[in-house]
Assembly symmetry: C2
């Protein structure tokens, strides 16, 4: 707990009793009808005490709500300026705005869409292409069985309470959090002990079991914020958008809550595609969906968003990474578990040191932390407002080996934008079990070992005669049976001679006869080690990264005339929605209109990193936005010079040192 | 109707009666116990007739099922070869395959994903960037009100029938289509008249009203294909995936069936962003969803797909396009309405001629047809298997001014891949009405114009006294009268003092008295024209284009050794998933393994357009896949030469003429 705040609360409580004591004294003197001078003196003392109390109240108010450049008031004002600029310039549009919108859904307007497309192109370059990852593109519509296996059907929930009279829904933890924050910031009369309790509740909020959360809501007398009606007990609400696949209503499905599952279910094919070799990484960019109970935090917590996820599959017995040395010397803010537990803050650590000391679990995890750092800082995220925070033991899934979040500081506080987790073999095992298809890797033994194995041998001729064009689907379904299903079929075929068999891809039952398939268990010599790979998963919330990038790129500067404030996004060329503008200054009738337009747009365009001014017929000037430096370049070269810088092939410094400089006050700002 | 087939059916019917007649004759001779020689002679004639009948049957069978290179059998074999290659090389993967898949859902595997990403990047370059379109990115989750306004909630349906015993669902038109096709192809005994009737049903299938479709199913005795159970009457099934937004269950939503609506609802902001000027175009790339009843046609008819849509907003009184001259001289296969109606085939027409003759409704529509042609052919779609087919009157929505589909011929026939429609003002009007937000454009007059305007002024006090709670509905109904209705009411009120008036929202007549409303015509100065823009919509089914591209790029060639067939995709560099491979031939231990790998992969890699062979330390050769031509280039230049060609900045011919040629048999094939 903050010591200033703590001692101020104590001082306030003491002063409050002093005021009360002196008030009683004054009343007693009045009742005793003592001399007026004596009463006046006592009243003077009382007033002095009240003034002192008021001064402490002011200090405490400042301490809890903040008053520095980082205070919540200033943060909100800054955010408002950013968000207003973003919405005014159509970076974002609340979706379906003419129908009064839907909470948690936003469109990217033209410049926002260009930024997003640039961020994704850079992500693809930095991860998929440079690391030769296997990119896939799977549907959003996902059948229930997949998300049952992954655990989402049972566990992807938030606790919800309902207004008992109107039925309006609220997130239980949000109400409790709001109550605690409001009490701490606005009720100065609470004791230091009470304040400590509320702060403790805020700290453990995410881990509170349903019953305890409900008990706290009751204990604090929290009611529905809009109606003051009583609230129901909390209960879990599944956050997936549910739907139904096909017309029968019998195949439930969901809009995927993450893109990762599409990769896991394809592991077998991808491993084969990679020449049956580990390690390899697969990647996917796509939409994901979370049916938030009541979305808040504007652009950060939305119901539909773009994820970019990597699943790096690795032998659990060897998590080294060949390119790890390339990132080992990076040094940046890390926030390991022990630092969090002991109340310290994040500190600059060399990545190589964090890995060698075992703070980061293994080299591959470390490698990706380094690559994520490079990705985010190249995009324009401020190094000083980026930290890698390790999950505490209670935040991590039981199966995870280690997990780090890239958190970016913005006006909402430190926001998780990338999660980098070593999820061990959990996901592949879950899908192996549910589907009956082994999702495993192989390592050849130096000499063979004997083992028992299930063999399913469909008789294609008979199946072809019976099912014609559907033969392939039936064969695949038979081969996909797990051991239990296969042995049950074998038993039925032996006793009854035939069996009903559901083929998903045909969406119907077919009749399998004894002559159509042979099922047996055979002793086989094993020539290899078979194991489930571990997966290291860097998962990027693209929308959150983009929003933080907007905040980090934003600054205000006075216009040239000094009469208004210009809101500028200082985007690096790689993400700038427009890379370069061209201002023709040559005296020529046909350019006049263009020039006027260019002037009109200057206010709009101050986020463009380069401007070409055509002031002669043979050469042009190129101006860089932030330094305002200008160079002179031949007309034919201009486009390729700008392109080389915006593509990241060379830097402005590089260009600056190679071309003649140009100085002219006339076209600046 | 095909005349050969027609005459063969008649010949077959005649021969059949001849066989029957001769059979009767033989039986009669036997019954009359005539001499054996006479009977044998008659049997000889019978057998000869049977042989002749059999020959006609064979000819008819060939005529109906085809036997040329374009026959359905050969088409299916070709498709199987393409699809097998695509699936084996992981261009596609049936989604959730380990769970036996879901009909109509496919993943793009690594090379497919790269092709898709290249196609989308090229689309963005060709349309969004070159035309300065305003790209937006809206959510898939869409509230019901938006799709109610667009008409999808009420009309986005297919007719479905159910197996009356098992409940299995089928598309009614598919069953009827299958029945007709099967009858035509396999039942050689049907008369020419019956065949003509079945062909007519196939032709009008898409337009059959529910009742007629049901009647045909009954008339032909069509039953459930799997169980032979009777079928229900057809009824409409809405093809949108439904879901619920938020936890209350009170806000129904759908996964969008197209991306266009996201643009329409943003018209007002986009128009403002464009400086309140027309024309301008907005564009969107994104997922769309159709909950198909029973998806067929493999990769062409799926339940989730990527659309790229453009909405070009234009003044309905001026549909010229400044860049139209750039495409007017293009000449390609067009299939206007009148050619289809008169049974002719598509023919090469110069686009400028089609527009000037009014075959294509307007310049802007023509411009986009030309741009779509350039887009598809640059991607690698075969010019000879691409046609632009105009919608027939009965295919088009009532509001559409004109509509053309870019159809690509593949093994499934001519497939609609891009629709280019002039949808007039329909969509903006629909959302204006539903939302109450005017989605209109303005044109300032050079000087104000005096106009006569209808003014309907309900007297709310009187209406309130008369109709209490229904006042608002009556007011709205009065204000909604058109000029004719209002002037009639004015006349009646002046003569009779009151009038009966039907209020739709109350579903009854009310009595309007003279003191309740003032109707007049006023002269007003108008300073601007206010109108709803027309929209020209090119809409691209990206997945279909990619699939057709795969078929058009596919060919088989013998391996160098001649011992096996190589399946090759001859992708143009712009879409090739891998642009270039590098084969190190320098004798150096560290390259040995790479060389082995390169050899192993050659079979896999024959869709890569360029190969660099490193055969010296100072220079390399670059080989082009199709011509097998090789050039020699300095090591430092190699990457930029390949990049310039794959980016489309220069052609191979261009490079071929600039660099020294290299000829060596040793590294070929």
């Amino acid at each position: 707990m903050d010591t200033t705040e703590d001692s101020l609360r104590k001082a306030l409580a003491e002063k409050q009793s002093a005021v009360e004591g002196q008030g009683n004294a004054v009343r007693a003197l009045k009742a005793a009808k003592v001399a007026k001078a004596e009463i006046d003196a006592a009243i003077g003392t009382l007033n002095a005490l009240k003034l002192e109390k008021s001064a402490i109240e002011q200090q405490l108010q400042a301490a809890v709500s903040g008053n520095g450049p980082d205070s919540s008031v200033n943060r909100e004002a800054f955010r408002q300026a950013v968000v207003n600029t973003l919405e005014r310039r159509l970076f974002y549009i609340p979706s379906f705005k003419i129908y009064r919108g839907v909470a948690g859904l936003y469109d990217y307007g033209p410049p926002g869409c260009a930024v997003k497309s640039n961020v994704l192109a850079f992500w693809r370059q930095h991860f998929v292409l440079e690391e030769s990852m296997l990119e896939v593109d799977c549907p959003c519509v996902t059948p229930e069985v997949v998300l049952k296996a992954s655990g989402h059907v049972d566990k992807f929930t938030d606790l919800m309470v309902k207004d008992e009279k109107t039925g309006t829904c609220y997130r239980a933890d949000h109400l409790l959090k709001d109550f605690c924050n409001e009490k701490l910031q606005k009720d100065l009369s609470i004791t230091a002990e009470k304040a400590a309790e509320l702060k403790h509740v805020l700290a453990v909020l995410d881990d509170l079991p349903t019953e305890e959360l409900g008990a706290k809501i009751k204990e604090y007398g929290i009611v529905a914020p809009d109606t003051k009606n009583p609230l129901s007990d909390p209960y879990p609400f599944n956050l997936m958008f549910q739907t139904s696949i096909g017309p029968s209503g019998l195949l439930p499905g969901y809009m995927r809550p993450e893109t990762a599952q599409g990769i896991f279910v394809n592991f077998k094919d991808l491993y084969y595609y990679n020449g049956n070799k580990l390690p390899f990484a697969a990647a996917q960019i796509g939409q994901a969906f979370t049916n938030e109970i009541s979305p808040r935090q504007g652009l950060l917590r939305v119901r539909e968003f773009t994820l970019a996820e990597i699943e790096h599959f690795v032998d659990p017995e060897d998590k080294s990474h060949p390119k790890y040395p390339e990132v080992a010397d990076l040094e940046f803010l890390m926030f390991p578990r022990d630092k969090q537990m002991s109340g310290q803050s994040a500190k600059r650590i060399r990545l190589g040191e964090a890995v060698s000391k075992g703070i980061v679990n293994n080299e591959t995890l470390g490698y990706f932390i380094g690559r994520v750092y490079l990705f985010l800082t190249c995009l324009g995220i401020d190094k000083e407002r980026l930290r890698f925070r390790q999950h505490l033991a209670n935040e991590m899934a039981h199966y995870a080996a280690d997990c780090w979040d890239a958190e970016i500081e913005c006006s909402y506080g430190w926001i998780e934008c990338v999660g980098i987790a070593d999820r061990s073999a959990y996901d592949l095992r879950a899908h192996s079990e549910k589907s009956g298809v082994p999702l495993v890797a192989h390592e050849k033994f130096s000499e063979p070992i004997e083992m028992e194995k299930l063999v399913i041998a469909p008789v294609k001729r008979e199946l072809g005669l019976a099912f014609k064009g559907n033969q392939k689907m039936v064969v695949e379904a038979l081969e996909a049976m797990n051991e239990k299903e296969a042995m049950e079929m074998k038993a039925s075929l032996e006793t009854k001679g035939e069996v009903e068999f559901y083929v998903c891809t045909l969406e119907k039952n077919v009749c399998i006869k004894k002559n159509m398939v042979t099922i047996s268990k055979e002793k086989k010599k094993e020539y290899q080690r078979v194991f489930t790979p571990s997966v290291i998963e860097p998962s990027f919330g693209i929308g959150r990264i983009i929003y933080c990038l907007f905040e980090h790129s934003f600054y205000m500067r006075p216009s040239k005339a000094g009469d208004e404030q210009l809101n500028v996004f200082r985007f690096p060329p790689v993400v700038a929605p427009i890379k370069c503008t061209v201002f023709p200054l040559v005296q020529n009738q046909q350019y006049e209109e263009a020039l006027q337009l260019a002037n009109d747009m200057q206010g709009q365009m101050n986020w463009v990193p380069f401007a070409i001014t055509v002031d002669s017929t043979s050469s042009v000037t190129i101006r860089e936005r932030d330094s305002k430096d200008q160079i002179r370049v031949n007309v034919e070269e201009a486009a390729s010079v700008v392109k080389s810088v915006t593509d990241g092939q060379r830097t402005w410094d590089d260009v600056w040192s190679k071309f003649p400089h140009h100085s002219s006050g006339s076209t600046e700002d």
